[in-house]
Every structure is written in structure tokens, then in C-alpha cells.
């Protein structure tokens, strides 16, 4: 019996064996109460701890936990006093540590406790008012600090978000007080600045949906501003006499007992001061502070509507939608990593209506949330898979419907969201045998190759091939064989020096490559090979050709797998470094890699990433290569080069993050070592003092004391050595961090400079005159892979020819005005996404970027797009 209260408490309100045949949540509360009453005497501490944990981590069941506490209050007032004390401590801690979820949930729980006559309504109101007044102070221009509006907004949100759980009771018990709070909230809302998420949208233009012209029009209350949006819902709730279907009210069954219990007061909390406005603050400093506030109090969800409203919002009141979203978001947050429970709770919420569509919209809104999802993308993939398994009859169709609807709007979709959707969909399908009705999308073959729908489908197939293998994916599109054009080529390396290959490579080069291959196979040492390269290749071929011969040959030898590749890179590291010592040659080396692996976007990205890891190519060389003319032409047709750029940025950032961690560890070591030195020295000094004091004593005791001095000195010296080496290690790490930070700065400057130069040039040119559109269709023919083609086919041949042609004619823009427009939109989109994604790093360099990149010469759209991504005011 001893542990049974544990599972009863956790499983309360669920259909589970613990509660046997009991179906009603009220019965559960009663049963659980009975068990708890029995065990409280000897397990009070544990029970309280578990109760508070359940309250926080299973917040959709807070009405049940509240009713339980209410019943306990009828018998053991003292114990409930402890519950309130813990709640108080929790809220205070959440306020002090900016713990958003804890603050929001405990505010809700406090409201529930009020419903159960555990906490007096007046002290709840007092708490609300403290929050509102703090919020109002924060946004006050004089004396406050409006840059911290994100926190003020959140405080007000906590109040409004708890009203579905107790609005009705408050309006019955303390109507005037409630009105006062709501007036305070309204006054606050009128004072604050509405929040604009223009750069944090999934779709560029909201509202213009292409869905069968049905009921998907925007309602005025569908504001981006989450607080405003909730305020509208609360007003509607008020008009509806605070009636909420989605919130269970178990306390009603116990009302007759609860009224006899004594209510407790909830002591005032102390709301932290708003951080002060820095003196002589510049615009950038203020923006930076606002950004910090928004990072501390991030937006948790967004307004994403995928389905027609008839399937979602029209069936329920806005507040019910809000409550269901809260439930789902909380399960997603607190049960992250518990796959079974997460899916079970998501599908088993205590609401009297169906919500699969809302559930899908909520998971998608998290998955696509800019600037980044709360958890890794793969978490949402796993959740979606588990939900499909938990509701096999309903959810897969809903997910498919969502994909269709999102696909229809993919042209308006933010480029980074599109990339996430591709990542998710490919992985999702790989968990379901790659079954997808591709025939529905066959029409995209009639679109030009840069059309977003087409790029999307192509990217999904490419990622699918990475997760499986070419033939498998080919089979998966068997219903629409012509879609094979969108498949990437088979991922074999293209070795231009293969002896039996009728390549255009000059014979001399082929011979050298063949000899190099046999040297490697003959197990010549790296040194021998280096000497041979220096003597045989470099003098005759020049550096560019030498790079190609050496890099192609060595990488081809290592092309069999990822491990083979890194083995070759590690073993011949010196050769790679020596042959491409500077930016120009490293760009040539990256080019060689992309030629060898032209059939595999994945291997191209991996090899470049590893080369950067081994410092064979610099991050700056990668940026320069990404912005080279042949790649610029692909900005709108493929994510490949962007993937490579993202990898380079991530790797650069990871280096600084890792070094910072190492430094803080090294600082700890140094501190310990320093303390050790001090201790050892004082012992030594004491020993010396003892020896000096013993001057007059016998020789024996002097000898023994002097031996002690010697020993103490040895120990002290050793401690000193340790401290010195810890100091050295810290210093060398510090130096490494300095270098990493310099590299990071140089990288971002280069990225923004490249964007600025390229876009300023292209945007200042007029759109090209329309030409015959057939052009793009012809290109499309050669884009994909042929079924029966040999493994080493070159799928992008026509693209490349096209690229060469264009370069020869010195045209920097596309021929087709629509394509040029798409290119501009896409490139600006990536600029915005990169600014958004790395805004923490970029903000640190803002002054420098302003003075070097964002000058008057830059096209205004470049500056405004970057600023929008950074959420910086113009």
C-alpha cells in the first residue's frame, strides 16, 4: 500500500488501472483523498513534494489537484497551509528566475485553489494587482523601462490566462475586484505598444489564402499580438458568463463540504524590479535590451491557421481554443522525452469536443515557430509520429491535410520555415514507408524549376534519399513516374581522373592522379607523397590544377563512406593544408569537393564541414564560395548552398560556445589550485616559523623541524606548479577564445558584406524584360535523374551549362523577370532568416556592422530586411 498514493496522485483523472472501474474524475479525487489521508501522517513531505510536482508538470489536471487540496483543507488546515507556502515559494522563485512556465502555471493553480475555497479571493486579486501594477510601471516612459515590455506583457498574460480556471468564481465572489483588475489590464493594453512579428511569420502575407475561397478569412481578432488576442478571447468569455467547456470543474461536486473549510491568505509576493535603463543609452543599446527581454520571455506559440476554420475554431469558443492550446503546449513542454506519456496525454485531454485539427495546428505552430522552435525539430517529428500511432484512424489524415494546405501556400512561406517543413516531412515519411500521394503534386512539373512548390518537392525527395536510398525513393513515386525528374542523382562520386573514363581531363592530369592513387595504395608515407606532389605535380600543373588533382584523388579514395572520408582527411591533413594555404586556393578546393560530390548534396556538405573542422578551409573561404557566381544562381532553386553556409556559421559559433564552457571549467580548476597554493604556503611558513623558534633547542629536534620545512616547501612548490599550469591552461584557452571570437566576427561581417554587395547590385537593376517562357521548361527537362542512367550521371549538366552561358554573357540577373523576382525574394528571405536565427551573435557586432556594412551605399531593402530579422527598430 505504501506507494499506492504515488500512482493515484499521478494518474488522477485518467482512465487507468489504478482507479479500476472508476470513470468519474470526482470519484478519483475522493478515492485519492482517502488514500492520502491515511498516509499523510508518515509520508507528508514526499506527498507534498509529489503533489507540487504534479501541479506543475501535469497542469491540465490542476482542477483535480485543486479539488484534492480543497478536500484536505476540510480536515487538515495546517497541511494545506504548507501547500500554499510551497506555492508561494514557487511563484516567488519563478518571478526571481524569469521562469515563465512555472509562473504561468502556479498562477493558474492559485486561481484553482481560490475556486476550492482554499485561498481567499481577495488575496488572489491582490496578487493579480501586483502583477498588473508592475507591468504598468515597466512600460511607463518615466521611471520604467519599456524595453522590458516582454516581461510586463507576460505578467499580464499570466493573469488573463488563469481566468478560464476561475473567472466564474471571481465574478461571483468578488465582482468589483475582478472588474478593477480587468480595468487595470485594459489600461495597460492601451498604454503598451502592440507587438509586431513581421519578420517572425511563417507566411509573408497573412490572410490571402488560396483555399477554395471558403471560410478562411481573417477575423479582426486574429491579431499577431498574443496578449491582444487573449484579451479579445477573455472579453468574449466574459460576455459568455465565463463559461468554458474545456476546463473541468470538479470542485462543484464538493461545494457543500468545501464551504465549511477555512480559507487561507496568500502572502504578498515581491515582484522584481525592472532592469534600469542604462545611462546615455544609444538606440542600439535599448534595442539590445529589448532583445534580451524577449529572449528571457519568449513568445511561446504563434497564430498559425492551417485548416479551414470550419474544422477548428468555428466549432468552439475562442477561449476553448486557447485552453486546448495551453494544454497541448504544456504537455509538449513538460513531457518532452517521455514519448509514451506525451502522446497519451495529448490525445486524452479532458475536453468535451474533438480537437485533432487544433492539435495538428499546435504541433505545426511549434515546429515552424520563428525564430526557433522551443525544442529540436526532431522532437516534433517524433511527437507527430507518436500521435499518428496513437490515433491511427484520425490523425494521419489530419497531418496529410495539413501538409497539403501548407504546400498550397509554400510560395508565401518563409524560406527557413520551408526548410524545416522539408526536414520534418522527409523524416516523417521515412517513418511511414515513404508513402505519400505524389500524384497529387504531379502538376508541379509544369512549373519552372525555381517555382517554390517544385523546389519544395525536390528538397523533400532529396532528404528522403539521404534517409533511405535512391531506388527506394524512386519506388515511392512509382504512381507518378515522371516525378523522377525531381529526384536527385544517385549519390556516386564523379571522379574526373578515372582512367577508363572518357573524360575531358587532360591525359597528363589523369596520369598524375593515377600515380597518386598508386602511391597511396602502395602505403607510401605522407611525407613521401608530399615530396612527390611538390616535385611532380606542382611545378608542372600550377596550383589550381594541382589542388584539383590532389584533392579529387585523395577524396575519391576516401569516398566509400563517411568514415573513409574522415580517415583520408585526417591522414593527409598536412597535404590538404599545404596545397591550399590561403583563401583563393581554399575556394578552389571547396569547388573541387563540390565537383567530386556533385551528385550528393549530403556528401558535399559533410566534406566541406569536416574540412573546416580540420582547418583545411576557413569559414571565410566557405562564405566566399557560397557567394560565388555559380552558387548565387542556385540561391532560389536549392537549399544546398544554404545548408553549407549554415553549417559553417554553426561550427564557428559552436567553437566559441565550447571554449566558453571549457574556460569556466578551467577557472574552477584554477580557483581550487590557487586555494591549494595558499594553504600549502601557509603550512610552509608555519614550519619555517617553528624552525626559527626552535633555534635554541637540540639538534635533533632542529633536524626534524627542518625536514618538515623541506617537505612543506616541496608541497608548496608542487601546489604552485599546479596553479601555474592551471593559469597557463586558462590563458591558452582564453587565447583560443579570442581567436574564435575574431573568426566569428569576421564570419558575420563577411556574410553580411556578401549579402549587401550581391543584393544591392541585383536590386538596383530593373527586372529583365519578359522573354519566351519556354526557357525554364526546357531546363526542367534536364534537371532530374534518368531511371536507367548510369550511376555517374550528371544531372545538373544543363544547369551548369546554363550558368556558364550566363556568365559568359556577363549577365548577373536571370533572364526571366518572374524568376528574378523569386530569386530576390528568396535571397532576402535567407538574409532575414539568418539574421533571425543568429540574432544573439549578430547583436554583439551591431556597431561594427553598422559602420562597415550597413552604410548609405547599401540598398535599403537589405538593411530593413536584416533589421526586421534582428527585430531592430529602423
Amino acid at each position: 500500500m505504501s506507494a499506492s498514493w504515488h500512482s493515484l496522485l499521478v494518474r488522477i483523472g485518467e482512465q487507468c488501472p489504478e482507479y479500476g472501474g472508476l470513470a468519474d474524475a470526482e470519484d478519483h479525487v475522493e478515492t485519492c483523498f482517502g488514500y492520502l489521508a491515511r498516509d499523510l501522517a508518515h509520508s507528508e513531505g514526499e506527498i507534498l513534494a509529489l503533489l507540487m510536482q504534479c501541479v506543475e508538470e501535469l497542469p491540465h489536471k490542476d482542477p483535480l489537484y485543486g479539488a484534492l487540496v480543497g478536500l484536505i483543507n476540510t480536515e487538515d488546515k495546517e497541511l494545506v497551509g504548507k501547500v500554499i507556502k510551497r506555492t508561494h515559494a514557487g511563484i516567488q522563485e519563478a518571478l526571481d528566475t524569469d521562469n515563465c512556465n512555472k509562473l504561468r502555471i502556479l498562477t493558474r493553480f492559485l486561481t484553482v485553489l481560490m475556486c476550492n475555497s482554499v485561498v481567499s479571493p481577495s488575496s488572489l486579486i491582490e496578487f493579480y494587482e501586483a502583477l498588473v501594477s508592475s507591468a504598468a510601471t515597466t512600460i511607463d516612459e518615466d521611471g520604467g523601462n519599456p524595453t522590458w515590455q516582454a516581461r510586463a506583457d507576460f505578467y499580464v498574460f499570466c493573469i488573463l490566462a488563469s481566468l478560464p480556471w476561475g473567472g466564474i468564481e471571481l465574478s461571483e465572489r468578488v465582482p468589483e475586484d475582478l472588474e478593477r483588475v480587468l480595468n487595470g489590464v485594459e489600461a495597460y493594453l492601451n498604454l503598451r505598444k502592440p507587438v509586431m512579428y513581421s519578420a517572425l511569420q511563417v507566411f509573408e502575407k497573412s490572410g490571402s489564402r488560396s483555399e477554395d475561397g471558403d471560410d478562411t478569412e481573417m477575423k479582426p481578432m486574429e491579431s499577431d499580438d498574443y496578449l491582444q488576442c487573449l484579451w479579445f478571447s477573455i472579453q468574449a468569455l466574459m460576455e459568455n458568463s465565463w463559461k468554458v467547456d474545456s476546463v473541468p470543474r470538479p470542485h462543484l461536486s464538493f461545494e457543500s463540504r468545501l464551504v465549511h473549510a477555512q480559507t487561507h491568505d496568500f502572502d504578498p509576493v515581491s515582484i522584481p524590479e525592472t532592469p534600469a535603463v542604462p545611462e546615455n543609452a544609444t538606440e542600439i543599446m535599448l534595442d539590445r535590451q529589448r532583445q534580451e527581454a524577449e529572449r528571457t520571455y519568449p513568445r511561446r506559440n504563434m497564430h498559425l491557421r492551417i485548416f479551414p476554420l470550419s474544422k477548428t475554431d468555428e466549432k468552439i469558443t475562442p477561449i476553448d481554443r486557447f485552453v486546448v492550446e495551453e494544454y497541448l503546449l504544456d504537455v509538449l513542454f513538460y513531457l518532452n522525452g517521455c514519448r509514451k506519456e506525451c502522446a497519451a496525454y495529448m490525445v486524452g485531454l479532458p475536453v468535451p469536443f474533438r480537437y485533432e485539427y487544433i492539435m495538428a495546428e499546435t504541433v505545426f505552430s511549434q515546429l515552424l515557430l520563428p525564430p526557433k522552435p522551443p525544442f529540436r525539430l526532431i522532437y516534433y517529428t517524433v511527437v507527430m509520429v507518436d500521435l499518428c500511432k496513437a490515433l491511427p484512424g484520425a490523425f494521419p489524415a489530419v497531418v496529410a491535410g495539413a501538409v497539403r494546405a501548407l504546400f498550397q501556400r509554400v510560395a508565401e512561406m518563409d524560406v527557413e520555415c520551408r526548410t524545416r517543413l522539408v526536414q520534418w516531412l522527409s523524416h516523417h515519411l521515412s517513418n511511414f514507408q515513404f508513402v505519400w500521394p505524389w500524384e497529387e503534386w504531379a502538376h508541379i512539373l509544369e512549373l519552372p524549376k525555381w517555382a517554390p512548390e517544385r523546389v519544395f518537392a525536390k528538397e523533400v525527395l532529396e532528404k528522403e534519399v539521404r534517409l533511405a536510398y535512391w531506388e527506394k525513393i524512386k519506388d515511392s513515386i512509382a504512381s507518378t513516374p515522371k516525378l523522377i525528374k525531381l529526384l536527385p542523382p544517385k549519390n556516386t562520386p564523379v571522379f574526373v581522373y578515372a582512367p577508363d573514363n572518357n573524360t575531358s581531363a587532360p591525359e597528363a592530369e589523369v596520369a598524375l592522379a593515377t600515380e597518386l592513387t598508386s602511391l597511396v595504395r602502395g602505403k607510401k608515407t605522407v611525407r613521401e607523397i608530399q615530396v612527390w606532389i611538390d616535385e611532380q605535380i606542382l611545378p608542372t600543373q600550377g596550383q589550381q590544377a594541382s589542388i584539383q588533382i590532389v584533392a579529387q584523388t585523395l577524396l575519391y579514395i576516401g569516398s566509400k563512406s563517411f568514415t573513409h572520408t574522415i580517415t583520408v582527411l585526417e591522414k593527409y591533413c598536412q597535404i590538404f593544408r599545404k596545397i591550399a594555404p590561403d583563401m583563393g586556393t581554399q575556394i578552389a578546393m571547396i569547388d573541387t569537393v563540390s565537383q567530386l560530390w556533385r551528385n550528393s548534396a549530403q556528401m558535399t556538405a559533410i566534406v566541406i564541414d569536416r574540412m573546416m573542422g580540420y582547418r583545411m578551409v576557413s569559414n571565410l573561404a566557405i562564405v566566399a564560395w557560397v557567394f560565388s557566381p555559380q552558387n548565387v544562381q542556385q540561391f532560389h532553386t536549392s537549399d544546398q548552398v544554404w545548408e553549407i553556409l549554415r553549417n559553417a556559421i554553426n561550427k564557428t559559433n559552436n567553437r566559441t560556445v565550447d571554449l566558453r564552457k571549457e574556460i569556466s571549467a578551467a577557472e574552477k580548476v584554477l580557483k581550487l589550485a590557487a586555494a591549494g597554493t595558499v594553504k600549502a604556503h601557509s603550512k610552509w611558513e608555519a614550519a619555517v616559523a617553528a624552525l626559527n623558534a626552535a633555534e635554541a633547542k637540540s639538534e635533533d629536534s632542529r633536524n626534524s623541524l627542518s625536514a618538515k620545512v623541506d617537505w612543506a616547501k616541496t608541497v608548496a612548490d608542487k601546489a604552485q606548479d599546479e596553479e601555474t599550469s592551471a593559469q597557463d591552461s586558462l590563458e591558452s584557452k582564453g587565447a583560443l577564445l579570442d581567436r574564435a571570437l575574431r573568426e566569428q566576427e569576421a564570419l558575420f561581417l563577411a556574410v553580411y558584406q556578401s549579402f549587401a554587395d550581391l543584393l544591392t547590385d541585383r536590386l538596383s537593376k530593373p527586372l529583365p524584360e519578359p522573354q519566351e517562357v519556354s526557357n525554364s521548361l526546357e531546363d526542367a527537362e534536364g534537371e532530374g535523374a534518368d531511371v536507367e542512367a548510369p550511376v555517374a550521371m550528371e544531372a545538373d549538366e544543363e544547369n551548369d551549362e546554363d550558368g556558364t552561358k550566363q556568365r559568359n554573357q556577363k549577365r548577373t540577373t536571370s533572364a526571366d523577370p518572374q524568376e528574378e523576382e523569386q530569386w530576390r525574394k528568396c535571397t532576402l528571405g535567407y538574409l532575414r532568416a539568418i539574421s533571425r536565427q543568429y540574432c544573439d551573435e549578430v547583436w554583439l557586432l551591431m556597431e561594427k556592422l553598422d559602420s562597415t556594412v550597413f552604410t548609405d551605399k547599401v540598398h535599403p531593402l537589405v538593411t530593413s530586411t536584416t533589421y526586421a530579422g534582428l527585430r531592430r527598430s529602423l
Partner: protein, 247 residues
């Protein structure tokens, strides 16, 4: 997070018997490790597929494929090494149980790769689990090794006694394709029986040569036709890097 349903002390259900330290040391190793063990892979799953899946929880340092100690071919497990603990934890948390090559893969914390751990520990060279399996698993070489041997013995009897057909002999639940393969393999093995040992030794030096075991080779070749994920490069077999990634 999610402390309610997770036993934080339960790091892995699997206790590696080859780990030489104490239970405490083992748990400490698991708690701090940045290596995961990946199990229930298909023999045909490539490093690049593994890279694609596991890079979704963070930057990878290395992949070490588990190899059959006789044939030096993948035998259905691998180690993935990350750079950070956080990424490692996410891999265990999210990737375990997801599907790769139509199989749910298993991801556990591992106490750390050491030279030698890449080899299968089963008597026949592969993983122990593939010794005793009685089901037919096309992604993992068909039947378990013991069942295969048993089938072999019976088949040879069939070939000597009734070279034309299989009549009269009971085969345990042979699947359609599986049955045929097994039969052809039997013949081949019979024919090549004498060379097996030498071939096996050659494999150590010559990565790209067909697997030592005639049974296995036939099986693989048949699969390779259906599932050509290996970058077969014909004449370009090389020896560097053929040793499972130790350099």
C-alpha cells in the same frame, strides 16, 4: 523536465559485460558519455543514412560501424560519437524507436568506444542476437545463424539424396523469397566449400572482396541487386580506411 515518468537512475537496461569497472564506474561512464550505441540496424544501412538521422540532434564526431568479425561487413549495430553531452542525450531521447530503413532502431548511452568493440561478439562473427534468432529477418541476413546452419545440414542431405527437389523434407516456415535464397545459397556453399578458409583470411586485407562466407556472399549479392546502397566502385577498391575508422 519530465521527471514524473522517468527514472533518472535508469540509464540503460543493458549492462555491458565487457566493461571492466564497477557498476558505479559503469553508470558514471554512461552519465558523462558522448557516445551512443545504435542497435537493430539493417545490415544494409549506410553511414551516410546514420549521419543524416543523427545529425538532427547535433554535430557528429564519428560513426563506427559494427562489423561481422569474419566478413568485415556491417552486422547491424554502430556507435555514434557526438561532441556534446546535450546532443548525446537528445539522440537517446528522440531517435530511439524511430524508423530507419523500415526498422525501429534502438539508441542507448554507451560507456565509450574502444578498439575491438566494433566487432560482433557472436560465435559466427555477427551479433549474438543473430546467432539464436528463429525469425526470418531480411534486413539482417535472413534466419539466425544457428537456424541457417541447421537448414544447411538438412539441405545438403536433400542435395545428396534428392538433388531435384525439396520433397519430403520439412523446412521451418520458409518465406517465399527466403526459401529460394536459402536453397541457392546451399548449393553455392556446397560448391565453394573448400575455399572458404582462404577467402576468409584474404578478407582482412582486401575490404572490397566478397564476404568470406559463401552463404553470406550469395545473400549479400542478391540483396545488393535489390538494394544497391553500397558505392561499389569496381576497380577502385582501396585499403586505407578499411579498418573501421581507426586511423
Amino acid at each position: 523536465m519530465a521527471r514524473l515518468f522517468k527514472n533518472p537512475d535508469q540509464l540503460s537496461a543493458y549492462r555491458d559485460r565487457r566493461f571492466l569497472g564497477s557498476q558505479d564506474e559503469f553508470e558514471h561512464a554512461l552519465r558523462t558519455s558522448t557516445t551512443v550505441y545504435v542497435g537493430n540496424l539493417s545490415f544494409y544501412t549506410t553511414e551516410e543514412q546514420i549521419y543524416e538521422v543523427f545529425s538532427r540532434t547535433g554535430e557528429l564526431k564519428k560513426i563506427i560501424m559494427g562489423l561481422d568479425k569474419n566478413s568485415k561487413t556491417p552486422c547491424g549495430f554502430c556507435f555514434v560519437l557526438f561532441y556534446t553531452r546535450e546532443d548525446t542525450e537528445d539522440a537517446v531521447k528522440y531517435i530511439s524507436g524511430t524508423i530507419l530503413d523500415d526498422r525501429p532502431i534502438r539508441v542507448d548511452f554507451d560507456w565509450g568506444f574502444q578498439e575491438g568493440r566494433q566487432w560482433g561478439r557472436g560465435r559466427s562473427g555477427g551479433q549474438v542476437r543473430d546467432e539464436y534468432r528463429t525469425d526470418y529477418d531480411p534486413g539482417r541476413g535472413g534466419y539466425g545463424k544457428l537456424v541457417q546452419k541447421e537448414l544447411e545440414v538438412r539441405r545438403q542431405l536433400v542435395e545428396y539424396d534428392q538433388p531435384v527437389g525439396m520433397g519430403g523434407v520439412q523446412y521451418p516456415n520458409l518465406g517465399e523469397g527466403g526459401g529460394g535464397n536459402e536453397f541457392r545459397r546451399g548449393k553455392d556453399r556446397h560448391g565453394n566449400g573448400g575455399n572458404r578458409h582462404r577467402e576468409g583470411r584474404k578478407r582482412y586485407r582486401d575490404e572490397d572482396a566478397p564476404p568470406a562466407d559463401g552463404v553470406k556472399r550469395q545473400d549479400r549479392e542478391l540483396k545488393v541487386e535489390k538494394n544497391p546502397r553500397f558505392r561499389e566502385k569496381g576497380d577502385s577498391d582501396e585499403e586505407d580506411g578499411g579498418d573501421g575508422g581507426k586511423s
